[in-house]
């Protein structure tokens, strides 16, 4: 079952500290391959913390681990993930003649992963 949600990219403390250690390091890859989701949405999709979920836009798709957030913090229908190589996979190159690609409030298709697919960014994915 795939549903449409709105993805917000942004910065976090963990992302900031881990990029100082190196963007090719395990911590940075972990931080940037996690998506935060409303706990009610997760329940509806049969997901729990650390479940794998596929996010898809017209330009690309990634498999991420999800982490639950209460409704007061993250309303239903919204997703948040830290900027990194995987959020780039979902961004379109069109800037509407501004120079700025859209990286916040992306419409994404969300689908639980049931086939044991590897997370995007895991070592064997290069």
């Amino acid at each position: 079952m795939a549903v449409m949600m709105t993805l917000i990219g942004g910065r976090t403390s963990k992302q900031g500290t881990s990029l100082c250690a190196g963007k090719l390091g395990a911590e940075y890859l972990q931080v940037t391959s996690t998506v935060e989701m409303n706990v009610e949405d997760m329940a509806r999709l049969g997901l729990s913390n650390d479940s794998k979920v596929r996010l898809r836009t017209p330009v690309g798709e990634v498999v991420l681990r999800c982490k639950g957030r209460e409704t007061k913090d993250l309303p239903p229908g919204l997703l948040f993930m830290a900027y990194g190589p995987l959020s780039s996979e979902l961004m379109a190159g069109d800037t509407a003649a501004s120079g700025m690609p859209i990286s916040k409030n992306l419409d994404v298709e969300v689908e639980p992963v049931v086939d044991g697919a590897a997370e995007s960014g895991e070592p064997h994915h290069g």
Binding site: C20, T95, S98, G99, M100
Partner: protein
């Protein structure tokens, strides 16, 4: 820790745009690492801790270890032979290095762009439309009794903005710090910044412009339909209360982040918040400032502006600078497949650009300068290891409020600075081209200039 210890007072952290210049660094000179960073926030502590000297090649050319000089030769050949190169990045290096990068772009007749184009570039566009009611962070610290954070999460991205300037800081006319200020936060979700706010407006995604325009209307005494709540998630009563507070405050500040610029509406959103500040100056003193990200992204805006007349997205193909976001900005140049070479300094577009742009970077010769190996460094044809600005390299950086600050480095690096590498590349390109490349169609094009 060894015995060869040095303490560097008043050092500067260049992680984020706060550019805090009150660091006290303890340096182990034998191990060439910073062991303690007093006054630093969590980001600053990681910045100083993780920038020790790493054992890396001075340069990699086609994946092979090389000297800096060998890398310079290959880089210069790439740039001299390119027809439409782009020089990009520059937000994590000194103004001195930025100046040389501008000269290279000018010399090869290429494009010049900085990370501003994917940060507050839309704000730069909005400045040109309506201007900026501006202030230094010191003014905000000393005077602001109402601070509105819009579309940002300073607690995680600029942690000391709250304590040094805008929330708890005690100033000349805010002697009681937090008690003398009303803090408003506007965002689409609760973040670690939310608890500092007296008033939190949780707007629906993609409705910032509508909320800002409604506030402008209310400031001007116009009627707003209560259905604004269904559209934006914010009731008319809350908007009216905020307008009342904004009109009655002594000194108000709107500090806005990329929740406005990276969103639908882009420069229209930035223009709306700048216009709101202008409107409010009919009633009280109000300023609006973009909260800038990387350590010297504001320096990049300043250097590129004073050298070319424009802040980013500049092209020199005709022998003089032209500004056109969407045409000469790097995401567009790459996503369209226009650029045939890229010189990328102190940034990592291969980890944060849209997929189409990254795919094109993989197809063209890339030259990269960075203290650490990055995704961009991995795909680059020439990858230079450079010393870290502020920790190993002296120079000038600009705080997010356009205040220049001099760096006090902590210890030497065996690696050259960005400025040194870029100067060598510039000199070699000049030799190869015989001076600035003349635009196509110029009667002297193709004739070497002495």
């Amino acid at each position: 820790m060894g015995d060869n210890i040095r303490v560097v007072p008043d050092a500067t952290c260049t992680f984020c745009g706060c550019v805090c210049d009150d660091m006290v660094l303890t340096v182990d000179l034998d191990q060439k690492r910073i062991t303690k960073s007093e006054n630093a926030c969590v980001l600053g502590k990681a910045w100083f801790k993780e920038h020790a000297i790493e054992e890396r090649p001075f340069a990699l050319v086609d994946g092979r270890e090389a000297t800096t000089e060998e890398g310079v030769e290959v880089a210069a050949q790439i740039l001299a032979n390119a027809r439409f190169p782009v020089v990009y990045g520059l937000s994590d290096t000194t103004c001195e290095a930025q100046r040389v990068a501008v000269a290279i772009a000018d010399m090869v007749g290429g494009c010049l762009d900085t990370t501003t184009s994917v940060c507050h570039g839309p704000t730069g566009i909005a400045f040109q439309g309506g201007g900026e009611s501006t202030a230094s962070l010191g003014e905000i610290k000393n005077r602001a009794d109402l601070v509105v954070f819009w579309g940002g999460n300073p607690a995680e991205a600029h942690p000391r903005l709250f304590t040094r300037y805008a929330v708890t800081a005690k100033g000349m006319y805010t002697p009681n710090g937090r008690k003398d200020r009303t803090i408003v936060l506007v965002d689409v979700r609760r973040t670690p910044s939310t608890p500092v706010a007296d008033i939190f407006l949780q707007v629906k995604p993609r409705t910032d412009f509508e909320v800002l325009w409604a506030l402008r209307a209310l400031v001007k005494g116009r009627k707003i339909d209560p259905s604004i709540e269904q559209r934006t998630g914010i009731s008319l009563a809350v908007l009216e209360d905020l307008v009342d507070r904004m009109k009655r405050c002594r000194y108000g500040a709107l500090l806005f982040g990329m929740g406005l610029t990276m969103n639908r509406g882009r420069h229209f959103n930035a223009g709306a918040i700048l216009a709101l500040a202008t409107d409010l100056n009919e009633f009280t003193h109000f300023v609006a400032k973009p909260v800038r990200g990387h350590g010297n992204v504001t320096g990049a805006d300043n250097v590129v502006s004073w050298q070319t007349g424009f802040p980013f997205g500049v092209n020199f193909s005709r022998g003089y600078p032209r500004f056109n976001p969407g045409e000469f900005t790097t995401v567009d140049l790459l996503s369209r497949g226009d650029a045939d070479a890229a010189l990328i300094i102190a940034s990592d577009p291969a980890s944060n650009f849209p997929k189409a742009a990254i795919e094109h970077l993989k197809c063209i010769p890339v030259i990269n300068l960075d203290p650490k190996l990055t995704h961009t460094g991995r795909l680059a044809r020439v990858s230079f290891t450079t010393a870290t600005y502020g920790i190993n390299v002296p120079g000038t950086v600009y705080r997010m409020d356009d205040v220049p600050i001099t760096l006090r480095p902590a210890f030497d690096s065996p690696y050259p600075s960005d400025e040194q590498v870029l100067t060598s590349i510039r000199d070699r390109v000049r030799e190869l081209l015989g001076g600035n490349r003349l635009p196509a169609g110029d009667p002297l094009a193709g004739v070497a200039v002495s």
